[in-house]
């Protein structure tokens, strides 16, 4: 490891996603004596173990924030920054469009690097590093698009990609000798063996798996729910609660003007209870069953219909009748008995 005198020690801000590549990129810089601090942006769409941990079936999975874990492995500070509101414009109006689903990967990368540049300037840092690998991802890491990130983020030659730097033109930190270009890497393409070998060299184990993905917007089912939300509201907008709820429960839209969010198990029941004041709810009182949030305004008759659907997912699904309690958003309560809807009557197209 080359050590720089403290007075001259250069400072880099590393975009830490929690994945292996950003972990390795930061480690390469630390090995060159650079002072590194991590930055992690929270868009609201980040895939976290905890979102999955709402569900009982996933309780066995380790509950950890991978970005924090990476920072701890590296022994660096990590600054987690809420960009939920600013990110809306990136998602709603992506200049470079969407990927296979609702993922605006290129705009997202440009935005995050531009935010990192702002942070760098505000905190007296010298350059930015990312774990990007040329050609690894089809949208944001294509060879011809890497310069777009450099240019449109405004980071220019203060953006260094240690894992593929040798495939790219020398950046300011390399030209100025802040880092030794020869010790950087020339990784490219989708083959992850070089990264895994480097991880083994550094004795990094139990890092987040590359196939896991880090953003719900790359998920087809999640993207469908988001599009449905926008269509139902007739506008492309959202709040944090909206996008959190898209991660939880079964979503059914029996009519265009309302949607049901039916919990799948106890963990989701507990989570959805936190939204009881914001939605009308349907509860099954005579049997164990899901809590259902109702997004939309329903008549009494429609509540009875929706309750039959909710009852289908309760332990009273085969009973002749179950007792229901509906609580309207204004606090008004209704109680009645209904027969659960037969599975054959629940239309597949209702599922979002």
């Amino acid at each position: 490891m080359s050590q720089q005198p403290k007075s001259k020690q250069k400072r880099a801000v590393a975009l830490i996603s929690g994945g292996l590549d950003s972990l390795l990129a930061a480690k390469l810089m630390l090995d060159q004596g650079i002072h590194v601090e991590g930055i992690n942006f929270y868009t609201g769409f980040c895939v976290e173990g905890h979102t999955h941990a709402i569900r009982k079936k996933d309780k066995a999975k380790p509950k950890r924030n991978n970005a924090l874990w990476s920072a701890e492995q590296l022994g660096i500070k990590l600054h987690i920054i809420d960009i939920i509101d600013e990110y809306k414009d990136v998602l709603i109006n992506p200049k470079h469009g969407y990927g296979a689903n609702m993922n605006p990967c290129l705009d997202c990368k440009i935005f995050m690097v531009s935010k990192a540049k702002q942070w760098m300037e505000e905190n007296g840092f010298d350059f930015i590093i990312t774990g990007e690998v040329m050609g690894q991802r089809p949208m944001s890491q294509r060879k011809d698009l890497l310069p777009v990130v450099v240019r449109e983020s405004g980071a220019d030659d203060r953006l260094l990609r240690p894992l593929c730097a040798k495939n790219l033109a020398a950046t300011l930190p390399e030209r100025e000798g802040w880092v030794n270009r020869e010790d950087l890497k020339d990784f490219s393409g989708r083959n992850r063996k070089p990264q895994m070998a480097l991880a083994a060299e550094y004795k990094f184990e139990d890092y987040a798996t590359p196939a896991g993905g880090c953003c719900f917007l790359t998920d087809e089912n999640y993207s469908k729910k988001l599009v449905d939300l926008w269509q139902a509201r007739n506008k492309k907008d959202y709040e944090l609660d909206d996008i959190m709820l898209l991660k939880v429960g079964r979503h059914l839209r029996p009519q265009p003007h309302y949607k049901l969010i039916v919990s799948r198990e106890d963990g989701e029941n507990k989570f959805l209870k936190g939204y009881k004041k914001q939605f009308s709810t349907i509860e099954i009182k005579s049997h164990n069953g899901p809590l259902t949030l109702v997004d939309g305004k329903l008549s009494d008759e429609e509540f009875r219909f929706a309750s039959r659907i909710a009852a289908r997912f309760s332990q009273g699904r085969d009973a002749e009748s179950v007792t229901i309690k509906v609580t309207r958003q204004n606090g008004e309560e209704l109680s009645f008995d209904i027969s659960p809807m037969p599975v054959s009557e629940i239309k597949q197209e209702w599922y979002i």
């Binding site: 980040c46 976290e48 905890h50 979102t51 709402i54 509950k63 950890r64 924090l68």
Partner: protein
């Protein structure tokens, strides 16, 4: 030295961590903050954030469906 409370209930990680981070940025060395969360993941993440950033955990426990973490600001 003052004691503060922070309500981070009904938010999923990393929001409790972000709220804690932002609260601590306003506090002085020696102050303590009691954070209440409903995401059990906070029980791992807030202590991890504190270790990385040099703050200490005075106490952490589960209270029914809630998680409570008491942090002392160290820098």
């Amino acid at each position: 030295m003052s004691h503060y409370t922070l309500d981070a209930r009904n938010s999923l990680c990393p929001m409790p961590v972000i709220k804690t981070q932002n609260k601590i940025a306003e506090l002085l060395v020696g102050d303590t903050v009691e954070v209440t969360c409903t995401d059990p993941g906070a029980l791992n993440d807030i202590p991890a954030w504190c270790r990385i950033n040099g703050h200490s955990i005075k106490e952490s426990y589960e209270n029914g469906d809630e998680v409570v973490i008491v942090i002392q600001v160290e820098n």
